[in-house]
């Protein structure tokens, strides 16, 4: 399993920083996020108080389409989908019900779905996006960072995009120069090999 290439906790209190290194390690491991994160840097200053986490994610797997895990055969007005991987079945059924309505989607057995629909309606069916793991990873990542941060820090700002993410938190109003601080910490990540 790939590990995080850069993992630092910066804190003016040495002992406190060491504990947070362990906390971050345990939480990221528990939430299965080690594979997702390439670099991460925490900055905690209890005197301000402020908590900053900035990081870069690895390349995320793209959206999962219907053809990735099943076989679609179209015959006149009838489409038969043979499922190879049940993981996405629930989400697939939900999307199909939304598109065609429950009365036109049948599931004669666990691994087969039969849809009665015209060819016009079903021609792009194979490209149907069933799941997008990057969306849930974003939620998981932010949730994990919220678990790591000291609890009293209720004022938060978070951002995710282009493979980069950050979360800043404090118990007071966030300082105005917070963007500079985040940029500074991102620069540290980029400098590191």
């Amino acid at each position: 399993m790939a590990s995080i290439e850069y993992f630092e906790v910066e804190c003016p209190e040495e002992t406190g920083g060491r504990y947070y290194q362990r906390i971050a390690d345990v939480v990221l491991l528990d939430h299965n996020l080690i594979r997702v994160i390439q670099k991460i840097h925490f900055f905690i200053d209890p005197r301000v108080p402020i908590f900053v986490a900035v990081g870069i994610t690895r390349k995320m797997p793209g959206p999962v389409r219907l053809r990735d895990f099943s076989d679609v055969s179209i015959q006149d007005d009838k489409v038969t989908i043979s499922i190879g991987d049940e993981t996405y079945l629930a989400k697939l059924l939900k999307s199909l019900w939304d598109i065609f309505g429950k009365e036109r989607v049948e599931q004669p057995d666990r691994f087969t779905i039969v849809i009665s629909a015209s060819t016009d309606e079903t021609k792009d069916l194979e490209d149907l996006v069933v799941d997008d793991p990057s969306l849930s990873i974003y939620k998981d990542l932010i949730y994990a960072l919220q678990v790591i941060q000291p609890e009293g820090f209720k004022v938060r700002r978070q951002h995710y995009g282009d493979g980069r993410f950050y979360l800043v938190a404090s118990e007071d109003t966030l300082p105005e120069d917070i963007d500079d601080l985040v940029r500074e910490k991102f620069a540290l990540l980029e400098e590191s090999p």
Partner: protein
């Protein structure tokens, strides 16, 4: 007769004999658990009869171990009941203290987190004060502990043991006025305590609690209580039938200088007050009866001999 706190663990077969024996010798059963085919008794037994109980318990696979915290009620004060402080830090510690015989209650503060925003409300303060000792589980940063601890201890008049991330020396330095006990390097953590050094830390917390409570016992011995709380428990168990209907694991919780009786105050306070202990001494003569801030329980505080001039 000196009573010592012990835990008896043994098979369920004929365990009644051990209970009878302890009671006949003048000891008290504080709590009895039956776990599958095993019985765990927490009891106060006469010091000179320990060997006798061991001898009689041996054929019943009984084992007697000293449990310094039997007969005490301890508050484990956690800064919140959020995932940040639960389950590992607070629960592991509360459970570990329980193994030594104490009755622990977890007090999760509504607004204990944060440095500037930490608060302790009157209900929390009163609930903590009903215990024999409070263990405060604080966080990892010295700066925060230094600033917030003053607020969190305001109005607390029972002994306090502070656990926190910084070392013991740092804790002693930043906490002013000093508290009764300190354990360093036990702050916020997010994993189970199963490695040997972590267990040693828990052991250290228990050691510190025992030390603080022993000192309190010595103080109590200087001006002895008018009645031993364990004996008071026995009398209530014998004379108040309603206590046997209570489903709580400890219908009566024994404290060092009192009892928590888990019956509604409005209905039973008067009944308890008029209960005769011996000849013309009633509970009301030697005990302060107060409503507890925990549910609608009754709190009994035994008055010392110097106040009542009665010893039963």
């Amino acid at each position: 007769m000196i009573l010592v706190p012990v835990t008896y663990k043994g098979g369920i077969y004929q365990h009644d004999e051990i209970i009878d024996l302890i009671e006949d010798l003048g000891g008290y059963i504080i709590q009895k658990h039956i776990i599958a085919t095993e019985v765990v008794l927490q009891a106060l037994v006469p010091k000179e009869d320990i060997e006798l109980i061991q001898r009689i318990g041996k054929p019943l696979t009984g084992e007697l171990t000293p449990s310094p915290l039997v007969g005490t009620e301890i508050a484990v004060v956690s800064m919140s009941l959020e995932i940040h402080h639960l389950p590992h830090a607070s629960c592991d510690l509360a459970e570990y203290i329980r193994r030594f015989g104490a009755k622990t209650n977890m007090v999760g503060l509504a607004r204990g987190f944060g440095k500037r925003i930490a608060q302790l409300n009157d209900e929390e303060r009163d609930v903590i004060n009903e215990h024999d000792l409070a263990v405060y589980l604080l966080g990892n940063f010295e700066t925060c502990i230094e600033q917030k601890f003053g607020v969190l201890r305001r109005g607390i008049d029972i002994p306090i043991v502070v656990c926190g991330g910084p070392s013991r020396e740092s804790l002693q330095e930043i906490i002013d006025p000093p508290v009764d006990g300190y354990v360093g390097n036990v702050g916020r953590f997010m994993h189970r305590t199963k490695e040997s050094e972590e267990l040693d830390k828990l052991e250290e917390v228990v050691g510190e609690i025992t030390r603080v409570l022993d000192r309190r016992r010595e103080d109590l011995a200087k001006d002895p209580l008018s009645i031993s709380p364990a004996r008071l428990m026995d009398i209530i168990n014998e004379k108040v039938d309603a206590i046997h209907e209570v489903l709580s694991p400890t219908p009566i919780t024994v404290q060092m200088a009192g009892l928590r009786v888990k019956l509604p105050y409005d209905q039973y306070a008067r009944i308890l007050k008029d209960l005769v202990i011996e000849e013309d001494v009633t509970i009301g003569d030697i005990v302060d009866i107060r409503p507890s801030r925990m549910r609608d329980y009754i709190l009994l505080k035994v008055r010392p001999f110097s106040e009542t001039n009665i010893m039963v």
